[in-house]
Subunit: 333 residues, 2 copies
């Protein structure tokens, strides 16, 4: 059994009180230099570690933040996590990462579990399937600091960090228009996501400003976010079954982009379709066929969201003014 040593063990061994030990280890000025030294030496010698549960119970905070994302095995999120971790680490916070895998149920369980686990605050990018957010608004109402990043919930008033999805989609669409493509379809994420609407709006605006006819049925929602290749395959079949066929596609995510490329590889007829996709893959430059892409500032997003959260946690006074930080994406043609 793992039986860590306690203050009491040290106190008994050195024949002093636990409070003396506690004070000595926290380098209180009340304690004499000799006692301090004695205590610290002994504590080190037995590899003493304070019990975090006791600490949190006392301090009513845990120096831990919870993170809920869709999947770590997704470049965008793993980069965001690195950003989150770097800031958390610098501020002596611990990071609890949980994955929703795109399931609303799982997200709910995770959020509840995290709140259970005495985290000091929550960082969340909501799952593709979330449209009921009472689990979050309840905790928010109770005062749990929450920061949304990437996929936000408009109606909950707190700090948020997002990509300028409208502009990213607008620029991406316009970029391929400039290249002469005019029949541009759009493979989108789940319809309930904030990012989906914004990207669609950017896409539409670019079409409009360039006098290109918008076709509603050329927006296909990938509800599983492209994890399921079949879903993307069907989208392609639908898009290319009509009389007028797209010559290019704006793709809303890494996963869908990748699945699209696979579908295109299998079908030579599709090989000259132009793809411009959102992607944070770190090997996108090596992928063949080459695609143009929009890269989001995932790492920075994680950093900023975490700074906001820590600010919220550590604020002495209630905060009522909440910023939404908007990050520009980069276009690679």
């Amino acid at each position: 059994m793992f039986k860590p040593t306690t203050l009491k063990d040290i106190a008994n061994a050195l024949d002093v009180s636990t409070s003396t030990v506690s004070r000595a280890l926290r380098n209180s000025h009340e304690i004499s230099v000799e006692t301090k030294q004695k205590v610290i030496e002994y504590a080190n010698s037995i590899n003493y570690q304070s019990n975090p549960s006791a600490l949190s119970l006392k301090a009513k905070r845990s120096y831990a933040i919870g993170v809920v994302i869709e999947d770590v095995a997704n470049s965008f999120f793993s980069q965001a996590i690195n950003g989150i971790e770097s800031v958390a680490y610098d501020n002596n916070y611990f990071v609890n990462i949980t994955q929703s895998h795109g399931s609303y149920e799982r997200e709910k369980t995770n959020v509840t579990h995290l709140a259970h686990r005495s985290i000091d605050g929550l960082l969340i990018s909501v799952s593709s399937q979330t449209n009921d957010y009472s689990h979050l608004s309840l905790l928010h109402k109770q005062g749990l600091p929450i920061v949304f990043f990437d996929r936000i919930i408009e109606n909950i008033e707190t700090f948020k960090v997002v990509t300028n999805n409208f502009k990213a989609a607008y620029d991406a669409t316009e970029a391929i228009i400039k290249q002469g493509y005019t029949k541009i379809a759009h493979l989108a994420n789940s319809p309930q996501l904030s990012i989906t609407t914004e990207r669609i709006n950017g896409y539409k605006a670019a079409l409009k400003n360039n006098d290109i006819n918008f076709r509603k049925n050329w927006i296909i929602y990938c509800r599983e976010g492209g994890k399921n290749k079949q879903e993307v395959k069907q989208a392609f079949e639908y898009l290319f079954s009509g009389e007028i066929k797209p010559d290019s596609i704006l793709v809303a995510s890494d996963r869908i982009s990748i699945s699209s490329l696979r579908v295109m590889q299998e079908n030579p007829n599709l090989s000259n379709i132009k793809i411009i996709g959102f992607s944070n893959s770190d090997v996108i430059d090596l992928i063949h066929p080459k695609i143009s892409y929009v890269r989001q500032k995932a790492f920075e997003m994680g950093q900023i969201a975490t700074s906001m959260l820590i600010k919220l946690i550590e604020s002495k006074y209630p905060i009522h003014q909440f910023d939404t930080k908007i990050l520009e994406a980069e276009l690679f043609i």
Copy 2:
């Protein structure tokens, strides 16, 4: 401020004692049906969540496991994490993921922090730079359940899960020999890693069994694991500066494989070098030029390691018999 409700709040509101509330919520048979119902209803209505710190303090366990890996933004590890999480989730454990980013110092801090944080057990794949493992053996000696996966430490006696690195490297090497390549170099990971030695041994054995001369200076160690492209570039420069030049390279990791491809792209002279690399990238099939690769069972590894850890944590009696589970890799030519 986030002020969660406590048992006491419920007790006061319903005019019963905290012990009654506690028992009612844990569905004790001692409590009358009416009281139970009353308590549970009220608890739900105010969204009561028990305080995990108080629980851990009392129970002396936290239902959390700590994970130390190099980097989540690495396909192998993110897949392993998914495996870890799936098993942990099913067993009601929480997962605390930390990253060493290849730094020994960071690993040490993380391990200490995790041990601090009252985890019930630790899952670790040691960092590239770890050759002093006293931080681990000390905790292990104190009884903290530890399971190693992927990059293990031989001398610490506990459960381990690894890839059959010898066989994987052997098969990979032999596969390209069968294709007619004879001048095979090897880009390896950090020399102190267990996986490095095993893979080198497999590589050597394949050469030997196929009567190919082994050249010691054709093994190049990438101490930063290929994160730094410069490192790989220099390796190539060295390899191709000699009189006899390799016609193929066995590459020991995803990162190094990717960096190698980039180096080769920049240098047309290198374009017909055959690469066979360890890779768990989920887009390897789309990467150009096509490479052969060895894929490890990362997800399964995470699952197995977690099962072992939970077994270790929950064992009523001290375990003295430790298995090392060996997983076969798959070869894709």
